[in-house]
Symmetry: C2
Subunit: 240 residues, 2 copies
């Protein structure tokens, strides 16, 4: 990923440098939105969203943080004395993690995870990072791989959003458009923009609980419990 | 302007409805930025930026507010008992003005101003609205027209930005690109985006004091004084 594509990383580097700005996300139907998540990206544990804090009770053993961003989860787990590896597709984000003190962090897209990373007890995907599963086929392929990469007591702690709980006509039309195209309704094709940088388009998957259980069926995983807050929820997924 | 183009107006309507979001502006070199000006758009006089408040001391007589947005200037001047007409190219913004109580506000691009509006003593262009002069030729043409549309004691109170006071490489490269193309360096070609709406591209002109004085030469106007704050300034322009 070239710097001109690493919009997310450039934004994280600027943030580390004290230059905060809203995060701009474009969807492939033309919808564009800017949100302020910067405070969360760099937040110490005590200032995390409550649901994220609760999720940490389910993290144990050797941990993989998928889409580690600016490293807040890695830093917290390191402090708790856990062995944690962070991965992110963004070279800029990985540089920010290193500068902030994350000990083991690597530039790696989720698709490239393999046995060379060793065995994990918990795989964490907070901040909507369940989305990195992308879509139905990719999710099921990756769930099977995660099964192979985790110990017997393996667990996935992943945050997503029940996007169907909306009455926004733009979102409802987008879900319908996805269904017509044979995609999952909450399979958002988006890209991130930061100043002159534009990320490649990527699929970011949001699922309801029912969809999640369907995705897990036959992968060796099951939904053990959810932690809920409004339309967001965190899934605690365990081996069957 | 169709609703799909009225990004600014859609944003103002949402804001009036309590849905605030950063304003997304795209420049034609690909730069995209999101800023939070919503508090200013709707602000009562006491919460305006200090420079804007000071500028009101120079407003007198019958007033035209060019690019009146959500109507904060019109509302303030009405309260002061002045006769004020607001114009804006955005139907959504004009609707917001009406709902907020602006008595005389019309959908009208700056190019369409003519004698039918009557004679004004002050023309106000706050919130960077000097930019609506667009470029060298359009600015000089409009300045001459403003001369014809104003009384003997006519005055223009316009806010702009000395964009050359920057060390940002993206901005410096953009200025240079403009110069190479025969445009004024601070002639920004931009568009506004709000959710699914995208405005047409338009030129928004930022000038230094020297450039401003060159633009005014021969139009019947001169720069009487400026009110300064960092790289922003408000020009008080009077008849020669």
């Amino acid at each position: 990923m070239r710097p001109a594509e690493d919009a997310y990383g450039e934004m994280m580097l600027a943030l580390l440098d004290g230059r905060s700005s809203p995060e701009i996300v474009e969807r492939d139907d033309g919808l564009i939105e800017a949100g302020n998540y910067n405070d969360v990206y760099m937040a110490p544990f005590r200032r995390w969203p409550p649901l994220n804090r609760r999720a940490m009770r389910f993290v144990r053993g050797r941990v993989l943080d998928v889409g580690c961003g600016a490293g807040r989860v890695c830093l917290h787990l390191q402090e708790r004395g856990l062995d944690v590896v962070g991965i992110d597709i963004s070279p800029g984000a990985v540089e920010v993690c290193r500068r902030r003190g994350v000990r083991d962090v690597r530039v790696c897209p989720i698709e490239d995870l393999d046995e060379s990373f060793g065995v994990f007890d918990t795989i964490v995907m907070l901040g909507n990072n369940f989305g990195l599963f992308g879509g139905r086929l990719k999710a099921r392929r990756l769930l099977r791989r995660f099964h192979a990469l985790t110990s017997e007591r393996g667990r996935i702690v992943a945050e997503t959003r029940d996007v169907y709980r909306t009455d926004d006509p733009a979102h409802l039309a987008y879900h319908e458009r996805n269904r017509r195209r044979g995609r999952m309704a909450g399979q958002l094709r988006i890209r991130i923009r930061y100043r002159l940088a534009t990320s490649p388009w990527f699929d970011y998957l949001m699922v309801s609980r029912e969809e999640l259980e369907q995705l897990l069926a036959g992968t060796g995983w099951h939904l053990a419990r959810t932690l809920d807050a409004d339309d967001m929820y965190i899934a605690v997924i365990e081996k069957s």
